[in-house]
Amino acid sequence: MNLLFDLPAAQRSAFTPADGEEIKYCSPCDIDRDGKLTHERYLVVTNRRLLVISGSQTETDLALSDITYLKCDPLVNNGLLIAKTVQNDTEQILARFTMKHVSRVAFIAKGALLLRDGIKKQVISREYDKTCPICGRALRGTRECPKCSHKPSVLWKFFKLCGAYKGWLAIIAVLMACVAVIQLVIPKIQQIFIDDYLMPGKGGWKEIGIYAGAMIGVTIITILLHVLRYWMCISMGTKMSMDLRQMLYKKVQLLSLSFIQDRRPGELMNRIVSDTAQVRRFMEEAFSGMFSCIITMVSVVIYMVMMDWKLTIMSVIFVPIALGFSISFRKNIHRRFHMQWHRFDKTNSGLQDILSGMRVVKSFGTEEQETKHFRKLTDDFAKVQERNEVFWASLFPLVSFVMGLGIYVVTYFGGVGVLEDRFTVGQLQQFITYTWMLYGPLGWMTFLPRMITQLMTSLERIYDVMDEEPLIRDHEEAQDIDLKGEVEFKDVTFGYRSYEPVLEKINLKVKPGEMIGLVGASGTGKSTMINLIMRLYEVDDGQLLIDGKDINDLKIEKYHSQIGVVLQENFLFAGTIYNNLRFAKPDATEEEIIMAAKMANAHDFIVKTPDGYNTYVGEHGYSLSGGERQRLAIARAILNKPKLLILDEATSALDTESEYLIQKALERLTAGCTTFAIAHRLSTLKDADRLVVIDGHHIAEVGTHNELMEKKGIYYGLVTAQLQMQALKGEDAEAVPAGA
């Protein structure tokens, strides 16, 4: 999202920058003081001032250092920028804007406050604009407007991509040329047959036989060529989309988590699946047809002109009319069917609504009412559908008639020509055939712009991902190391968004084999610390050292293979338990797997299932409980004998008894393995070598359980609070059976 718009000349004239003053952020504010829409009003933030300029008038001119409070207040369908200053401690409205700019101004407000505090860091927004700020076109999930950005065009990239399939393209071109030639030759053969043999007294049975044979031969060749061409196009399209899909998938894997988390999961899925399929469809349907149509049309016109240019003009005169008719007709059809689709959608969602709310409908006894409601929806849909079908059925013949008007003209004047002996009957027949051949592709060609635009949209989305630079990747001197397990945070600062630090100046040194419990209220940055250790994100400032080396100097793959991770929600892939456990170590033996499962207290429940370790889990498989899932995840993590173990609420879904058992097992396992554990249930962390309490982006307390309890600080408060909550829950638990 652009946070620095170009300030138009008029507004620029209202603003004289001081020495060394430069515009840092600029956004339109498109509602004026009277609540009218405007293009004249701008919010400008320089490294010294905040200005609101309307036309060539400066409405507000505040020194950043005077601002004590600055906030973007999102209201209903518009937003306000509100400030307090040193001089005036009441909230005042600085600017007003539509939803187009609400998020932009919110970012700019944060940026202005950073500038005020002397922090140079430029706030950037990874959000995408919904429409292009320059041309107003809707952006379909790309950062820059493909029309307004001056990057090498997507089409050019696509051509370069096609370069890899030169051989295929050449063969397809030759095939298409052959098809065109044969299509031109068939009417010629007919003409010769009619003129030379089909006249009384000219030909005999033999000639008719030869003609029929020739026609069959040519037709078979045409069919074969067509099949070959389609086959080539389909294989090329499939190959291309497969290649694109693999490239995209590889890229998505490389990109950092933040890129993926900025997007809805369905969106990336669409790009990998649907957009590449769109490319394939284009190659199959449009690409092959496009060139054969052009070749056929051009050669037909040349041939026709050679035969009789006057007649050619007459037959072509109706082309624009036919085209116009076809286009306007299609628009109408599109409208009608869009309407039908709209009703269909409404009916569908109405049905879904009622079916999924059936319990409520039944319990409130409103079946009658809902039936009426649904009947109205289906009635509407049926009416529209009926109207459309009748329309389609009655109008289609009319359109064909208009499209074919040129034929009647040619037939009349051609016929006159035959009577006047300017043509032979065969030539007339040949000419009429060519005219038909001209009209056929024309109708098809009107669909082409739509197909090309669809292709471009898909390509834009594909290249939007392809052009993204991964934030985290191995640099050239990255090393493979065997971990000892020492972790050190050195002045680490990090935030998911550039203006919101989650961790500030964290310093912590962890010895190999130490178990660290991370404690703090939710949202304080415990999981963030773990994300940094897992290297899912890169620190903004400071250093994270692993065995004394900067984490960025380690090869990612090797590093990841030596850490084990158990999260609160553990994803199991569709497959057997056996395969899921082997995920991190594909060459693990059965014995190793059983050992790991035993340690995770999972062996017993696995063996109890009918298929044991071969039990299929995943979407349509055996459904595991939360606790079972967690135990499998623990087994998966420890199978590889990691040097660094990360447990983020790893035992939260377990009952106290199995948690205790796993704790005991883990204790044995984690000897010599550096462990970071987060647990909401603080009793889980009692045995940690050190507890680290995080509060307000900082490390607040460090020590063992006993030390921190004596200190009576935050940790002490958390423990006592939890005990009280438990006591309260205990009372509730007793109260319920008594009441029931």
């Binding site: 009218k36 209903v76 369908n77 009441t90 005042q92 409205i93 539509t98 939803m99 409208r335 209220a521």
Partner: protein, 195 residues
């Protein structure tokens, strides 16, 4: 529940406070000229004084939010007056700004509501162009001419009543057509795709 309630071991888990919060949640206080005084602030907002508030204590709010309970169907009744912080709390409700407050106050509150709700009313449709799944509108509204883009799906144009339409654009702005039957035949034709 925040950490602060749990500081100190000797402190009882605060049941009383929760009771009080429940009370507050259920409270319904109606505001009118007799018990509340609204005033414009220098910054363009409205402040509120309640001389005899809860337990007879005077209450003062530097700035209040003026929120409609039924923005579409009853814009002038059941106006909720709220505090401005993020977890905005209700101070009171005005049953009907036409009856319960003075003309002056009413004007003040209406100004605040027109700040909060920005829904230009479409008075003229110049053009609606459809292109590949989006519709580009070029209209004149009560707040000036405007161009916007909507998705071509059923949730972009919603009928509030048989004749009243609410249109939402890609960015989340809203536009209203109070009675589409009042539009000219040409405009209706452009619109009929969405009806």
């Amino acid at each position: 529940m925040g950490l602060k309630n749990f500081e100190g071991a000797d402190e009882e888990f605060n049941l009383e406070q929760m009771e009080a919060e429940t009370e507050e949640m259920l409270r319904m206080r109606f505001l009118s000229d007799t018990n509340a005084k609204f005033e414009r602030t220098a910054g363009g907002f409205v402040s509120l004084d309640i001389p005899e508030g809860e337990d007879g204590k005077a209450e003062h709010y530097d700035r209040v939010r003026v929120v409609r309970s039924f923005p579409f169907t009853a814009p002038n009744t059941y106006i909720s007056i709220r505090t401005t912080e993020e977890k905005s709390k209700e101070i009171g409700i005005i049953r009907d700004i036409a009856k319960d407050v003075s003309k002056e106050t009413r004007k003040m509150l209406e100004e605040q509501m027109s700040l909060r709700y920005f829904t230009p009313v479409i008075t003229k449709i110049n053009d609606i162009k459809e292109e590949y799944g989006h519709a580009y509108w070029d209209v004149v509204t009560t707040e000036g001419p405007c161009k916007f883009v909507i998705y071509m799906n059923s949730s972009s144009v919603v009928s509030l009543t048989d004749v009243r339409l609410m249109i939402s654009d890609l960015d989340g702005n809203r536009f209203e057509i109070p009675d589409y039957t009042q539009l000219s035949a040409g405009e209706l034709k452009k619109l009929d795709l969405f009806l």
